[in-house]
């Protein structure tokens, strides 16, 4: 069987009619974590519940109740952790899901409460007015870009930013629109550092993935090395000329006292006016010698000169 035939159109590996939603190593690691979490929950909750329950019941009954309670809670935690890779996807797409639900439910309630032309009118107003007013439209677009960028960055982190052993990715925190594009704060998990994002053209790859012009990464503050800021540029907000305020400090009624020197006659301003003088080698110029240290390259092809950073 060829490899491609194992793949369903959705990119899930499809073996023996079963659809693998979570890849095997990830699932295994999550299952191990879930088992540990189950036993820890069982122990802690069971002990606590048993102690509390034995205040009211016979100690043996209380102990049994504690174990049952602990097992139930542990099972819930187990299920949550095992399903977390899937739940996480829902969490990541929560704004879109909420928005989609709001649109669907909004539309149906609107259709029920008003006649067709009324609901069409309301929809036209709700959509048309922000679309017509440029600042509102730009704001909305900026927020949409923020949502998009969070997904794109997540994709990049999963695809080519090195992760730690557990496969946990950097945590994408807030995204905010800026005049030039977006600014995203990211919390790095253990095993990562700013260096990982800086090394060999990672930022250029990020820019490509974010459909942006440029991406810049830097620390977000002096306090936490893990908190970094990613600036994504997709617009040029600095295209206009900025007028200097210095002339405003000058009062209006200043006497013009600029002396334009009349002493300079317009001579020698063109090539024929300047004689062709032979180059006389000055006697004291040092002879052109071969460099003593031939290992130092004068200039490498890309213009990089190591002595610039010496």
């Amino acid at each position: 069987m060829s490899k491609s035939s194992q793949r369903s159109p959705f990119g899930w590996s499809n073996r023996g009619g079963q659809v693998t939603v979570i890849e095997a190593p990830v699932a295994r690691s999550y299952r191990r974590r879930a088992v540990i979490a189950f036993w820890v929950t069982l122990g802690v909750v069971g002990l606590l519940a048993a102690m509390v329950a034995s205040e009211y019941l016979h100690p043996i009954l209380g102990g049994l109740l504690g174990v049952v309670l602990g097992a139930v809670l542990g099972a819930v935690v187990f299920a949550l952790i095992v399903a977390w890779p899937v739940l996480r996807v829902f969490w990541h797409w929560l704004p879109e899901i909420v928005f989609g639900l709001a649109v669907v439910y909004g539309w149906t309630t609107l259709m029920e409460s008003t006649p067709l032309w009324g609901s069409l009118l309301i929809v036209a107003l709700v959509v048309g007015v922000p679309a017509a007013i440029a600042p509102v439209r730009r704001r909305v677009m900026a927020w949409i870009w923020c949502l998009i960028v969070r997904h794109r960055l997540r994709l990049c982190f999963a695809a080519f930013i090195a992760t730690n052993r557990h496969g946990s990715l950097p945590l994408i925190l807030l995204a905010r629109p800026t005049p030039a594009g977006e600014r995203v704060w990211v919390w790095l998990r253990p095993g990562l550092s700013l260096r990982d994002l800086e090394q060999d053209d990672q930022v250029q790859k990020l820019a490509v993935a974010c459909w942006a012009n440029e991406v810049r990464v830097m620390r977000a503050g002096r306090k936490y090395a893990a908190l970094i800021r990613i600036d994504i540029t997709r617009r040029e907000p600095l295209a206009h000329t900025v007028v200097s305020p210095l002339p405003d400090y000058v009062p209006r009624d200043v006497p013009a006292n600029a002396p334009t020197s009349p002493g300079m006659p317009p001579v020698g301003l063109d090539l024929p006016d300047v004689p062709d003088v032979p180059v006389s080698a000055p006697t004291d110029t040092p002879r052109q010698r071969k460099p003593r240290n031939p290992t130092t390259p004068t200039a490498s092809p890309n213009g990089f000169d190591p002595s610039d950073y010496a």
Binding site: P179, A207, R216, P237, P245, V254, P259, G303, A310
Partner: protein
């Protein structure tokens, strides 16, 4: 927001007809440099600092230098010492300046020697007063040494000995001038090691990189490693002169668009500065200076 808006400044009291009053600026105030990507004004505190400006020809280096010189010219207690291998870039401030050096290597070295002597005298004086640095409204004012086209003095004009001497003097002034109010602002196109010694370049705390022709050049101006983090002034639109990366407070390059003064603006400010300075005795009239 409309980025072309001029930043509003407090209204200036009307100057009386006869006695010129200074513009009320101080070099202890940060210089208004332009706006950043967020439309916020970008300020550059120049006191106790030095700045290196780099970028390809036509990147807007001289315009930025003019903004800094213009601010200093309007400060009543700042003396200007201008070196400009191209003459016209800072030449409009000639009458307001104490010293204006054109493409004249000897004059440049003599001037830097003078500044160096002043610096030494100031340190001796401070030591005698058991102080370590100057403050606002001190006994003596500040000196702005602005040098456009350093490459002319440090790599083109004169012979190797003079060029090295120039670089050494400038390095000394950058290294030691801070605490006695001697501020250096220098511009050159590509401050690579064959133009100015890296030991001099690395002394400049603040950097402005206008558009550069490649990422390595940008790193040379801003400092090694910024390109890897996505800060390369090579990505600036060549037609957007005056935009560049500024490293100032915070230490992280900030994309800014420098404010621009037209020649008419510069002449207006320079004439006013000359007028107020002559009255207050800060700048000698040009004829006296050339005779000396």
């Amino acid at each position: 927001m409309d980025l072309t808006d001029t930043i509003e400044l407090p209204p200036q009291p009307d100057a009386p007809q006869t006695v010129p009053v200074g513009a009320g600026l101080s070099i202890f105030d940060p210089v208004f440099l332009g706006i950043d990507e967020f439309g916020h004004p970008a300020y550059l505190p120049m006191i106790y600092r030095n700045i290196l400006i780099g970028g390809e020809p036509g990147a807007g280096k001289s315009s930025l230098l003019n903004t800094i010189v213009g601010h200093a010219a309007l400060c009543p207690d700042v003396r200007l010492c201008l070196l400009d291998g191209k003459q016209v870039e800072l030449g409009l401030w000639k009458d307001a300046a104490d010293v204006f050096v054109g493409p004249d290597m000897d004059h440049a070295i003599r001037t830097l020697r003078r500044v160096q002597t002043v610096m030494d005298n100031r340190y001796s004086f401070l030591l005698a007063r058991r102080r370590r640095k100057i403050g606002p409204n001190d006994l003596f004012g500040q000196i702005l040494v602005a040098c456009d086209e350093i490459a002319y003095f440090s790599a083109t004009a004169g012979d190797k000995k003079d060029q090295d001497l120039f670089a050494a003097l400038l390095r000394d002034i950058v290294a030691r001038g801070r605490a006695v109010g001697i501020i250096v602002a220098a511009a050159t196109q590509r401050p690579s090691s064959d133009i100015i010694p890296p030991s001099l370049r690395d002394l400049f705390a603040w950097r402005f990189a206008g558009r550069c022709t490649n990422d390595v050049s940008s790193d040379i101006v801003l400092g090694h490693g910024w390109y890897a983090r996505g800060f390369s002034s090579n990505s600036i639109d060549p037609n957007n002169q005056g935009e560049g990366y500024l490293i100032a407070e915070g230490g992280i390059p900030n994309r800014v668009k420098a404010a621009y003064m037209t020649d008419a603006d510069i002449i207006r400010v320079a004439d006013y500065a000359t007028w107020t300075r002559r009255r207050s005795g800060l700048a000698a009239p040009a004829d006296l200076r050339t005779a000396a």
